[in-house]
């Protein structure tokens, strides 16, 4: 869905630069440092440039896919958008958000990352919700919907520690919590590849619902069928820069041509 009328932008990222220093010692930690000093070795630092002057504007309600090879800077860009990292230079603003200083962003990245193995499913739902910025009362009102979405075979599982869960159940519960936090912007990182087919369909249905509701979706994937299905626009990142930006089919075509792959 491409909106023709000009709307406020959900995300405005301007001139983002990001470098990482990778220090190589024999050992990590204090021992490695001291060892390196004693042997007269200067710690070697490799500088990796992850983003090199990347600017990106995403309108509210758009669904944009980030594509590119491993190490092209997709994950770094996603981390900057999720505000878990700061750019070296450049700025990201969220003008369309109800509270631009604190946009509600739901990262569906390795969902369940915040689950504690010794706590029950129910306890983890409440805690994960509060990490994503919801109050306990808000979460308690959503418990039924979350459990219905995760759709475990037996309700007793919600009272069991999540360490007893299968990896599929883990992901299902994590996804269920994240999609029920009323996000303005949803960041999806390959999460759709997990879970069984019926759960994947449920996730696609939820994403379609988000799109109808006018929420903004940023989607990172190597699965071009998934990209075509979810995104209307694609951004191709290569060598830390934006190589192409436009309608998903034509950007995928360009990307595949550069890789020497058939469409």
């Amino acid at each position: 869905m491409v909106s023709s009328s000009p709307r406020a932008n959900a995300i405005e990222a301007r001139n983002l630069f990001k470098e990482f220093r990778i220090v190589r010692h024999g050992y990590a930690g204090i021992k490695g440092r001291i060892g390196a000093i004693l042997r007269g070795i200067k710690p070697q630092e490799d500088i990796v440039r992850a983003l090199d002057d990347v600017s990106l504007t995403i309108a509210a309600g758009e669904s944009v896919a980030l594509i590119g090879r491993n190490g092209s800077g997709k994950s770094t860009l996603l981390s900057l958008l999720a505000h878990v990292m700061l750019p070296d230079r450049g700025a990201i603003t969220f003008p369309a958000s109800a509270d631009p200083a604190h946009p509600r962003i739901a990262p569906l990245l390795e969902v369940g990352a915040g689950f504690h193995p010794d706590l029950t499913g129910n306890q983890n739902i409440l805690f994960n919700g509060s990490i994503l910025g919801l109050t306990r009362t808000q979460m308690e009102a959503r418990m039924e919907a979350i459990r219905a979405f995760a759709d475990f075979e037996e309700t007793a599982y919600y009272e069991a520690p999540v360490r007893t869960y299968s990896s599929g159940m883990f992901v299902r519960l994590g996804f269920a919590v994240a999609v029920h936090t009323d996000p303005e912007i949803i960041l999806v990182d390959e999460t759709l590849a997990v879970g069984d087919e019926s759960f994947q369909e449920k996730c696609y249905a939820k994403i379609a619902e988000f799109q109808r509701e006018g929420r903004t979706i940023i989607f990172v994937s190597h699965d071009m069928d998934a990209v075509r299905r979810v995104a209307t626009r694609a951004v191709w990142l290569g060598e830390s820069r934006i190589r192409a930006d436009g309608p998903a089919p034509s950007v995928i075509h360009e990307y595949h041509a550069a890789l020497g792959l058939p469409d």
Binding site: I30, K31, V84, F127, S130
Partner: protein, 302 residues
């Protein structure tokens, strides 16, 4: 924006997330007892057993010429346990949560602050056990008309909240320092474990500060310096103050095998107390700044 402005902005941002802080504390306590049915009883069992053992050892088995010695040991031992667990738990408070830190934004300082507050809650429970013990002790003294024990604790008992506050600031400050360092150097938590093990003997828990001041093992000049060094350690000041705020001074032997008697549990001179208070505030504020200068690099650590 100046650094003071940044500091205030960061405090405001952390305050916005106070409900999450509360949930992190609850989670810490839920996890500690793995949702066991006994729950709170377990957190009481530890100090209760500790009190019983120290009472048996110091008041019944070892013939020490200090009346109610176990009460004096406990009054410093429970606060010491708060230090120990508060600092050891904080070490991994960030590094254990890296999966979360890499994915979701929230003020990272909440992690070490949550372990500190969880340990504070435990400490308050153990103070409850200590209070029962002391009520029994003072009640018996009143019934017996024991000339060595007054029937009421010192008036400084009303300063107890100040003491708990300054100790919490100190632990929180150290927690902020070491949780940030431990992300980059995983040796830090092992180093802390060794240091704390040694520190146990360098602070007056199983002895009195006055026994250091007047010990015959050191020449008068040296022991004066050592006594001052003890007083400059805020942990010593805190532990000694718990004891002197809760329990009376009394005459006790200078040391094992010595017949000389000295006054013990006189507390610390007030200037040292307020100096320690200032140090605790400084450690907390500088720890907060130290942590915040590094918190954005946690996820970049390769």
């Amino acid at each position: 924006m100046g650094s003071a402005g940044t500091f205030l902005a960061e405090v405001r941002e952390a305050w916005r997330y106070r409900e999450l802080l509360n949930n992190l504390v609850d989670r810490e306590l839920q996890v500690r007892y793995k949702n066991s049915i006994l729950g709170v009883i377990w957190s009481l069992a530890n100090p209760l057993v500790r009190a019983l053992i120290l009472w048996l050892v110091f008041d019944k088995i070892l013939p020490l010429k200090v009346s109610n010695y176990s009460a004096y040991v406990l009054a410093s031992f429970f606060p010491w346990t708060y230090f120990l667990t508060g600092i050891l738990d904080a070490g991994e408070s960030v590094s254990r949560q890296m999966a979360l830190v890499k994915k979701v934004y929230f003020p990272r300082e909440l992690l070490p602050l949550a372990t500190t507050i969880a340990n504070l809650r435990h400490f308050l429970l153990s103070l409850g056990v200590l209070a029962l013990y002391l009520i029994g002790l003072y009640a018996f003294a009143a019934l017996d008309n024991d000339p060595r024990t007054p029937s009421l604790p010192p008036a400084t008992i009303f300063l107890l909240p100040v003491l708990v506050l300054m100790q919490t600031l100190l632990i929180g400050g150290i927690a902020l320092y070491i949780s940030a360092l431990n992300v980059f150097f995983e040796d830090v938590k092992f180093l802390m474990a060794v240091l704390l093990d040694l520190l146990f003997y360098a602070v007056p828990i199983i002895y009195f500060l006055e026994q250091v001041h007047y010990t015959t093992a050191l020449s008068p000049g040296v022991r004066g310096i050592v006594h001052h060094l003890f007083l400059l350690n805020p942990i010593t000041v805190i532990l000694v103050s718990y004891r002197s705020f809760l329990l009376p001074a009394q005459r006790a032997p200078l040391g094992p095998g010595s017949d000389a008697e000295i006054w013990v549990n006189l507390g610390v001179p007030w200037p040292y107390f307020w100096l320690a208070f200032a140090v605790c505030i400084f450690v907390f504020l500088s720890g907060y700044a130290f942590f915040n200068r590094r918190k954005w690099r946690f996820v970049e650590r390769q």
